[in-house]
């Protein structure tokens, strides 16, 4: 089994086919006039129309987008601080514990995170009356907590590649520490910061388990809405929704790819 043997290359092709099959099917089904998956009823956009008028989905989508944006921004700030702390501050008390806390949520099963956060919110509410009920705030806090660890990984990788003497040189040339950071390090981190924010945004948008635990009445995120629709039976609107997401993401990646290529040289 060498790197270029037919078997290996064949497996790669199979792997891609495997990965993209559901995506392709979603797109096909979304334009299928029939509800059935194995029967082609003709090309139709009725499911998209239905989706566009389904207030449940629209409201849920709006909530999810707001939560994702808020939690991603929070996660970005916290995660960047954490990355800076781990890479630039040489030693500090509790560093091992800190590194552990940063790494743990990455591998912790969602159900445990969800349960733990809910139990804490409940206990907190009992003790000091905040948070007042569960909804937008609690979901945002929960998502930010998980996402910040991912942001740390992304920013840390980039930071480790950055020459620390660049910031020292900026200070040596007369820029006070904060200004040196903003003028020199931040521009160099920019791609990692953008990637981190997008990653956090995607994770939040996609999360169903933690949201189910920590959300409350009236705070239905898009994934929760999708889950309940699925449980109620076949819902071809979801194919349309999936296709929309795929196209948006695809377009976004194409744009990002083009930008990176232009920047690259």
């Amino acid at each position: 089994m060498t790197r270029r043997s037919p078997f290996v290359v064949g497996m790669l092709a199979f792997g891609y086919a495997f990965l993209y099959l559901p995506i392709a099917l979603l797109m096909v089904w979304s334009f299928n006039d029939s509800r059935l998956v194995s029967v082609w009823g003709g090309f139709s956009t009725r499911w998209y129309a239905q989706l566009a008028h389904d207030t449940r989905f629209l409201d849920a989508a709006w909530l999810s987008l707001r939560v994702a944006a808020a939690s991603a921004s929070l996660a970005l700030v916290l995660g960047t601080c954490a990355a800076l702390a781990l890479v630039r501050v040489r030693r500090f008390r509790g560093r091992t514990l800190f590194a552990l806390l940063i790494a743990a949520p990455l591998v912790m099963p969602d159900v445990i995170m969800g349960l733990a956060l809910l139990l804490m919110f409940v206990a907190l509410e009992q003790a000091i009356g905040w948070p007042d009920g569960r909804g937008f705030l609690t979901i945002t806090l929960a998502h930010a907590t998980i996402a910040l660890c991912y942001v740390t990984v992304v920013v840390r990788a980039r930071l480790a590649q950055t020459d620390p003497s660049l910031e020292e040189a900026a200070q040596d040339l007369g820029a006070p520490p904060a200004k040196a950071f903003v003028l020199v390090t931040l521009p160099l981190l920019a791609p990692a910061l953008a990637a981190g924010w997008l990653l956090a945004f995607t994770l939040s948008l996609d999360d169903v388990v933690v949201a189910q635990f920590v959300s409350g009445p009236g705070a239905t995120t898009l994934p929760i809405q999708v889950m309940s629709s699925v449980r109620l039976g076949v819902s071809p609107e979801i194919n349309a929704l999936g296709t929309v997401i795929i196209l948006v993401v695809g377009a976004g990646i194409a744009v990002a790819w083009r930008l990176l290529e232009r920047r690259g040289r």
Partner: protein, 359 residues
């Protein structure tokens, strides 16, 4: 030892020490550097020279002692407020700025008017001969060009002192020689004090007005290149700088030209200048180029040895001969091309003044 300079030194280091945890990187250094000097901190890696340099820049704080620059105490003064600029080993050029942006960076921090900044940057780029590359990014430059940008970036701010951290380490040999001349020329032209850190003793000798040899956090000797080469303070310095023959022995007493040192395996005691009590253990150092070979070795007060040529390393301008004495000891002799070949018997001679006694 010219460690302390009489007139107002631009840098005065008093009792400075720096430890990292349990490790003492720098242990109690006193040093004065005069205005306009090209001063080198020379030593093997880990000797503390870079730490000392960074303390001058303000990037590290001394654990003990005091640093004065331009007469002012630098305690608590951050790097951006010091009249000092540093050229980093990696050059630390800002990749997201052009050459012009890099050189102008320090002037922008001073809040100077745009026109003046542009004028000074252009003048500096001309000085280092990079005028045409002003619009390029560092990634598009060669190593030598990047180094010049880094230097220009420092000099344009007209600091009292420029610190250089192994400035030539990343360049290939030929470029290094050229750049050595360049740096000295520029320093003479602008008259700013340069303090350079290097592990390359040839470089330090070629460029500096004075050198401080360091090892394990301490200064072993400070002096001009000639002083350090001819009269090293101890064996470490003698060994670190240039090539040398070492003869361990015991001082017999005063001899012609200095002391007579009896060395095991040699018939006659070696004569060399120095100062040590009789009976003490010393080492006689003799540089390879001080020894002369050939049957027509001169007469007069000096040291004579006989041996057989064991090896020759041809170096173009001169060759390094390894001569084996009867006792088996190897003596290194540097001489211009000779008719001698391997296996030839040869007589060695050097005047007493050609050696030096180390304690």
């Amino acid at each position: 030892m010219s460690r302390v300079v009489a007139a107002d030194p631009v840098i005065r280091i008093e009792g400075v020490a720096k430890g990292f945890g349990a490790v003492a990187a720098v242990a109690g250094i006193d040093l004065d550097i005069a205005e306009g000097e090209f001063f080198s901190l020379l030593g093997p890696s880990g000797c503390g020279k870079t730490t000392l340099l960074r303390m001058l820049a303000g990037l590290e704080t001394p654990s003990a002692g005091r640093i004065r620059i331009g007469g002012a105490d630098m305690a608590g003064v951050p790097p951006h407020a010091r009249p000092v600029n540093m050229m980093f080993q990696s050059y630390a050029l800002f990749p997201h700025l052009t050459v012009e942006g890099n050189v102008a960076f320090g002037l922008r921090q001073e809040g100077l008017p745009k026109l003046e900044i542009r004028r000074r940057v252009a003048a500096m780029l001309d000085l280092v001969q990079l005028g045409e590359l002003a619009g390029r990014r560092p990634q598009q430059l060669s190593g030598g060009q990047r180094q010049r940008v880094a230097l220009a970036r420092c000099l344009v701010k007209q600091p009292r002192v420029v610190l250089l951290d192994e400035p030539l380490a990343a360049l290939d040999k030929k470029l290094r020689r050229q750049t050595q001349f360049e740096l000295v020329r520029i320093q003479n032209q602008v008259g700013i004090t340069f303090v350079m850190v290097t592990h390359d003793q040839e470089e330090a000798m070629a460029m500096s007005t004075r050198i401080a040899v360091m090892d394990r956090g301490r200064i072993l000797q400070v002096g001009s290149p000639q002083e350090i080469y001819r009269r090293p303070a101890d064996r470490f310095v003698a060994d670190f700088i240039g090539d040398a023959n070492f003869f361990d022995g015991i001082v017999g007493g005063p001899g012609e030209g200095g002391l007579a040192v009896s060395v095991e395996g040699l018939a006659a005691p070696l004569l060399a200048p120095g100062d040590a009590p009789a009976g003490s253990r010393v080492t006689v150092m003799v540089r390879p180029e001080a020894i002369r070979m050939g049957e027509d070795a001169a007469d007069g007060a000096g040291n004579r040895l006989e041996g057989i040529v064991a090896g020759i390393a041809y170096h173009g301008d001169a060759s390094l001969f390894q001569v084996a004495l009867a006792s088996g000891r190897m003596v290194k002799v540097s001489a211009a091309a000779h008719d001698l070949g391997r296996g030839d018997a040869v007589r060695l001679w050097w005047p007493a003044a050609g050696g030096w006694v180390l304690r």
